[in-house]
């Protein structure tokens, strides 16, 4: 112990106070001191920073360069300037892909938020086994899209054998084509995403509901407000920060939709489910037009960035509460 204490003393004595020591040793002490202070940073932070530069920063910059080149996997790549960007502005299919993605968001965002809120209200209403049911609603969130999409595709078969068609039959509704109908396919995909994601919106809303003070409801009860009024006048407005946060994350995720379009429709029928990311995938990795795919990925980035900036502007420091 005493040995250690003297050691400690040595480190703490600044070099100026030991004039008799040769300069070299003082440098060594200083280096030792520096090492003690920053060892974790040199051992872990610097390598992680290098990793970050290689796998995140460099690809980001490289992708931008790609948009101005005609990149070939085999053979020489040439500089083509704005050719690919110009193509984007004239590419009807790219515009359709953006439009499809916007339509998908319209089908998807409000139902996901609404269902999440309803589930949270149910869970929060003092029912038994709330934790168990919370688990059930959250289960699709952790399940692979491939699994859920496989089942969903089977349920929504466009033939008389399809489960949903059979159920519609009970109500006298005629058989639908679903994924083979260009007017319905996108809505069926949105339905799959709603089922898959509303469990996580439920968690946000549940956290929000629990932070609302109970006295507010007691006061409202004394004033004779019914449950319906209490919801619209207390619960709903007080959840405002959650509404906004959930709106932003569901919007961003809806613009990145790919899995269900790839798995269930392959962009069809008649390109009605070709979303931005699906089109990007098709251009880049089926047609091997990597440069044009890079342009599309920058368009996607621009859209996501604008949404994030709106979040910054409107949320500011408001969301500190949650």
């Amino acid at each position: 112990m005493s040995q250690e204490e003297t050691k400690e003393e040595e480190y703490r004595t600044p070099p100026e106070k030991q004039p008799k020591q040769p300069k070299k040793s003082s440098l060594k002490t200083r280096m030792k001191k520096h090492w003690d202070k920053y060892s974790l940073i040199y051992i872990f932070f610097v390598p992680i920073m290098i990793h970050f530069l290689i796998f995140q920063v460099f690809p980001f910059a490289f992708s931008f360069v790609l948009t101005f080149m005609d990149w070939k996997i085999i053979g020489d790549s040439t500089f083509v300037g704005f050719e690919h960007w110009a193509r984007f502005f004239q590419d009807d299919l790219a515009h359709l892909a953006i439009w499809n993605t916007v339509v998908f968001s319209i089908y998807y965002i409000i139902p996901t938020m609404g269902l999440g809120l309803i589930l949270a209200l149910i869970i929060n209403s003092g029912i038994r086994f709330a934790g168990f049911f919370k688990g059930i609603f959250f289960l699709p969130v952790v399940t692979s899209f491939v699994i859920v999409a496989g089942i969903w595709g089977w349920m929504f078969q466009g033939t008389a054998d399809g489960l949903i068609n059979m159920m519609l039959g009970w109500f006298g509704i005629e058989q639908q084509l679903f994924l083979s109908d260009s007017d319905q396919a996108l809505a069926v995909l949105a339905g799959l995403s709603i089922l898959k994601v509303s469990g996580s919106t439920m968690i946000y809303y549940f956290a929000g509901l629990q932070s609302i003070p109970g006295q507010l409801y007691e006061a409202a009860k004394i004033d004779g407000a019914n449950a319906f009024r209490m919801f619209w006048q207390i619960t709903f407005p007080l959840l405002k920060p959650i509404h906004f946060y959930v709106l932003i994350i569901t919007t961003i995720s809806s613009f990145q939709i790919f899995d269900s379009a790839f798995l269930l429709t392959g962009g069809g029928p008649n390109n009605s489910t070709t979303t931005i990311v699906y089109y990007l995938y098709e251009q880049g990795f089926t047609s091997l037009n990597l440069s044009y795919a890079a342009v599309l990925s920058y368009v996607l980035f621009a859209i996501v960035l604008v949404i994030s900036l709106i979040q910054r502007k409107f949320l500011g420091k408001d969301d500190n509460i949650y």
């Binding site: 609603f137 491939v146 968690i203």
Partner: protein, 267 residues
């Protein structure tokens, strides 16, 4: 009255959410050439194991599962470790440019992964990483989200423990291993479960980096048999098997999922 409505809603939605999983499990035990919806789908008492035996004999499916395990287990453990160290450094260490680095991370998180995949594909082609586990493991050894969660958590813990340990002469590394790491176990578990879900379920990246059937993870493998005529039972059996690890992890770590989702909302 209010309770009654809540219970009706609860059972209705629970049934809707469980129906797909029920179809998956029931379908996996049905020997069906086509996905015909006759009452026998639900009520046949013949339990057919043919789909499972087909999968186990086939070999390629077990290879897909093995691939998924490789590309999941390594990132899960390395993320738990590296995210904790880096999160700790950001929360507790002083060094020049700390805030700039952190906000660079937070800015980069906004870049859609799809944007990075195109240049990464070209890079990995040059590295010889196409059809190589490295393309799915090396980029995932740590994650910005995990660093963020750990930093957020450690900032709420007073410095007293560390200072006391420092006075006792503990080195930085000892402080980290003996004090910080045990304290952060709940958040580290969150980082691990998130990383598991992300890697086990990832479809887009392996779809691009893995082109040979024997290198597919189970997601891409299942996607390749999806919708093929007469494969419904096999697909459901495959789905059930690939769902078991997710389900077990979910069962034991559910708390960490939901807490993680809430934590990630704190900005």
């Amino acid at each position: 009255m209010k309770k009654t409505i809540a219970y009706i809603g609860l059972f209705f939605f629970a049934a809707c959410f469980l129906l797909p999983f029920l179809i998956m499990v029931v379908g996996s035990f049905r020997d069906m050439q086509y996905a015909l919806l006759s009452p026998s789908f639900w009520f046949s008492d013949e339990l057919s194991l043919s789909n499972y035996t087909y999968i186990l004999d086939d070999g390629i499916f077990m290879r897909w599962i093995f691939n998924s395990v490789v590309i999941t287990v390594v990132p899960v453990f390395s993320q738990m470790f590296f995210c904790t160290v880096i999160g700790y450094i950001f929360a507790k260490k002083q060094f020049p440019g700390r805030e700039i680095y952190f906000w660079t991370f937070m800015a980069v998180i906004m870049i859609p992964q799809q944007l990075l995949i195109i240049p990464k594909y070209i890079m990995f082609a040059n590295f010889g990483w196409i059809n190589n586990y490295a393309s799915l493991i090396v980029p995932e050894i740590w994650g910005i989200m995990g660093v963020f969660l750990i930093r957020q958590y450690l900032q709420g813990i007073p410095n007293d423990f560390e200072e006391a340990a420092k006075i006792d002469g503990a080195t930085d590394f000892q402080i980290f291993m003996r004090i910080i790491f045990p304290l952060t176990i709940p958040v580290v578990a969150t980082v691990g479960t998130f990383s598991f879900i992300q890697n086990w379920n990832d479809l887009f990246q392996p779809l691009i980096y893995m082109t040979q059937e024997e290198m597919f993870p189970v997601t891409v493998g299942l996607a390749s048999i999806l919708g093929k005529e007469g494969h419904f039972g096999i697909e459901m059996a495959g789905s059930t098997i690939s769902f078991i690890p997710t389900f077990l992890i979910f069962l034991f770590f559910q708390r960490y999922f939901t807490e993680g989702i809430q934590l990630s909302g704190i900005k």
